[in-house]
Symmetry: C4
Subunit: 120 residues, 4 copies
Amino acid sequence: MIGGKRKWFVPDGYLPSASSGDALSHEAACLLNVSDADANLRLTFYFEDRDPIGPVALTLAARRTWHVRLDDPASLDGIELPRDVPYAYTVESDVPVVLQHSRLDTSAGYTLFTTIAYGE
Amino acid sequence: MIGGKRKWFVPDGYLPSASSGDALSHEAACLLNVSDADANLRLTFYFEDRDPIGPVALTLAARRTWHVRLDDPASLDGIELPRDVPYAYTVESDVPVVLQHSRLDTSAGYTLFTTIAYGE
Amino acid sequence: MIGGKRKWFVPDGYLPSASSGDALSHEAACLLNVSDADANLRLTFYFEDRDPIGPVALTLAARRTWHVRLDDPASLDGIELPRDVPYAYTVESDVPVVLQHSRLDTSAGYTLFTTIAYGE
Amino acid sequence: MIGGKRKWFVPDGYLPSASSGDALSHEAACLLNVSDADANLRLTFYFEDRDPIGPVALTLAARRTWHVRLDDPASLDGIELPRDVPYAYTVESDVPVVLQHSRLDTSAGYTLFTTIAYGE
């Protein structure tokens, strides 16, 4: 089985600096590679008032998912995204993958959102 | 009336082990088959660090919806998905269907998310 | 300006019977008709264990939006959808429109979800 | 890299008048322009019972994102959208962009929703 697209776009990225309880506010770029080949990914981060950062090169193994924590520099080749700053990102891949973007915001409550990214 | 696609992808699956109040944290693969033929479905589950599980064979009757509880082995031909583990899944069907993925997380609050899956 | 599709599908419908505070749990089929012609809509509701209900005929005026309350029989030509029952629905239109499905669940908290429906 | 579409549609807009805590209820039209050309945008707002407002002309710089606050007249060329009123909107652009729509509702809790808009 194969399926997916090679370019994905997420306009609404935001990492709240505040958290409550034991649940850390964060976002995840949830990727799925159902193909039999590893996917070489390139992530680029866009901002409102400064030049883009990246690309960050990541590898998503064949027939695996990876919920990439966007608040974790160790997951992004050392890149630390600023908190409390609107951003956006794109993912390019050499094999078809699927991207779903999710946020957990516990800054003043406990709420999740998600959407399949825009792909082409 | 007909409509839908035969392959669907959901990258962000996660079943919290904790719940609060009377509402159990869970996810549902909400499927709709508007055609006049039963749909033979095959669900495959992907993980970050192990081989996929499946396919699980399910039947969705003609002109019916089914909100398949992903935390319920009885709905998945006996498969018990691990809790607190990132996963993803695909649904293949022999007739066009539509898939929407939803989560209720009550582990430290009460929050829903949903998205139409990626289909092709 | 024109834009949209003539067939839309929402697999995850659910009307919680419980509410808290002043906010009634409900769902809305949010429709947008940017064309210069009124849209003649037909809504059909699907269930897990019974035959579909409908079609319900509604008219969405040209260059208007309508957030159709799915818990309000007066908005659905007298149809009262059952609460606490999984359902799904489709919208057919004679001119292109766009459908976004949203839920407010206040049964044991206060949470919203939304997604653009699947269209074709 | 290029990508996106020139027409986007969001049927479910709503700005709650009430807020709780320090977090103001609001919506954002999150736009991403990955191209090397500035995007000239035109936003039009639709209602249930009155004529559309707009177009509002905005510019989104090349290789930038902009999370346009829909509750802020300063972001909308002076247009103040009514609160507690269902609305919808479209975005037209002369270069491909991507639109994701999000709401924070703190009127009686703390909840987010989001979806990639419908584009064509």
